[in-house]
């Protein structure tokens, strides 16, 4: 390592330490206190019990998923942009991960079970990596699942009498023990996304 490089590292460490002290003492001095934002999501609450049926006809619940890390993506087939793009990217990422991908179970959970019938999902999923499971349940089961992942969905009516779905956009990462391990944003650099998946797969 060159002297310059060491100097650079030392400088950055010093800056980081100074920033840490400043943030730490920020609340002590009157007028400098920052408003503490509440933590948006209680991460311990993510990954509660749920039960759905896969596009292959199997029952999939949290007990069955235990022991293997998994990915959860909420979407619907009447979605031309974010949903198929995410599924194509997951397909691509699974291929790039190689054998480590076998240790992951990506789940595509429909938030539109009324239109996404088992038949529609079975056909739809043939375009993607066969390890990705599409899951579907009744409206009540869908509600319970969305709640189990502290996610969100809502039916949004459109002008022509139809509707579209608003839904949580990110991919939720779950560890083998069922603990929440963060989220994936497909707009992050590809290497960062791949690194997160490798870490999750324990590769």
């Amino acid at each position: 390592m060159s002297g310059l490089k060491i100097f650079r590292i030392v400088t950055w460490v010093a800056i980081a330490a100074a920033a840490g002290i400043w943030i730490g003492f920020g609340g002590i001095f009157p007028g400098t206190a920052r408003v503490q934002k509440p933590v948006a999501i209680d991460t311990a609450a993510i990954g509660g019990p749920f039960e759905l049926t896969s596009h292959k006809g199997e029952t999939v619940d949290n007990a069955r998923l235990a022991g293997k890390p998994y990915l959860v993506f909420f979407g619907f087939t009447h979605c031309p942009d974010i949903c198929p793009t995410t599924l194509f990217e997951l397909t691509d990422l699974m291929a790039k991960l190689g054998p480590a991908a076998d240790r992951l179970t990506p789940l595509f959970i429909t938030v539109d079970p009324e239109r996404d019938t088992p038949e529609v999902l079975a056909e739809y999923m043939t375009a993607f990596d066969e390890r990705i499971l599409a899951l579907r349940g009744s409206l009540a089961e869908t509600d319970a699942t969305v709640k189990a992942f502290a996610a969100y969905y809502r039916k949004a009516p459109t002008d022509g009498g139809g509707y579209t779905m608003d839904h949580t956009a990110g991919v939720i990462l779950m560890e083998a023990e069922g603990r929440f391990a963060g989220t994936l944003d497909m707009h992050e650099p590809r290497e960062a996304v791949l690194a997160k998946l490798k870490r999750l797969a324990g590769a």
């Binding site: 198929p84 529609v120 375009a127």
Partner: protein
């Protein structure tokens, strides 16, 4: 000899230029590289993207998209706010003078509703764009697995839609 060479060279440019660029033009509106992703089988919708540039001095609007491959087409904007994805139709799309509306960067897409067949990588399909001032133009969407571009940046300063 140099003249002949120049002629050959310009012929070469004429041949190569438009074919590889996949662009269209109507009046003052340039339409760059309309493309669409392959769809999964039985997909009830497909998305289309392009770049529209207004080289004129008068504002124009894209008011309609029609294609024989779908029951109908709408222009939508995807919004991700607080981690929630939502999608809303836009009533026409303004293309201001000198502005470029980059569908991908602005999270816009043409939504082809009920495509008559699955869109496959490498295919092309026709569509008609209708602009308020420039009028109608026949274009072709290329179906391709990935966008031929680096990651889309947010050019919100160029935002031309209302």
């Amino acid at each position: 000899m140099p003249i002949r060479l120049a002629a050959a060279f310009s012929a070469f440019i004429l041949l190569v230029g438009p074919a590889s660029a996949h662009d269209f033009k109507i009046g003052q509106i340039e339409i760059k590289h309309p493309w669409s992703r392959p769809t999964p089988p039985s997909a009830p919708v497909a998305g289309g993207y392009m770049k529209l540039t207004n080289t004129g001095i008068e504002a124009d609007r894209l008011v309609e998209v029609v294609s024989p491959i779908a029951e109908r087409a709408e222009i939508h904007r995807s919004v991700v706010e607080n981690g929630i994805a939502s999608m809303r139709p836009t009533e026409g799309l303004a293309v201001d003078p000198g502005a470029t509306v980059d569908f991908e960067a602005e999270k816009l897409h043409v939504m082809f509703i009920k495509p008559k067949s699955q869109l496959k990588d490498g295919e092309k399909f026709p569509a008609t764009l209708v602009f308020e001032k420039a009028g109608r133009v026949e274009i072709e969407f290329m179906v391709q697995a990935r966008a031929a571009k680096p990651a889309a940046k947010d050019h919100s300063s160029h935002s031309g839609s209302k």
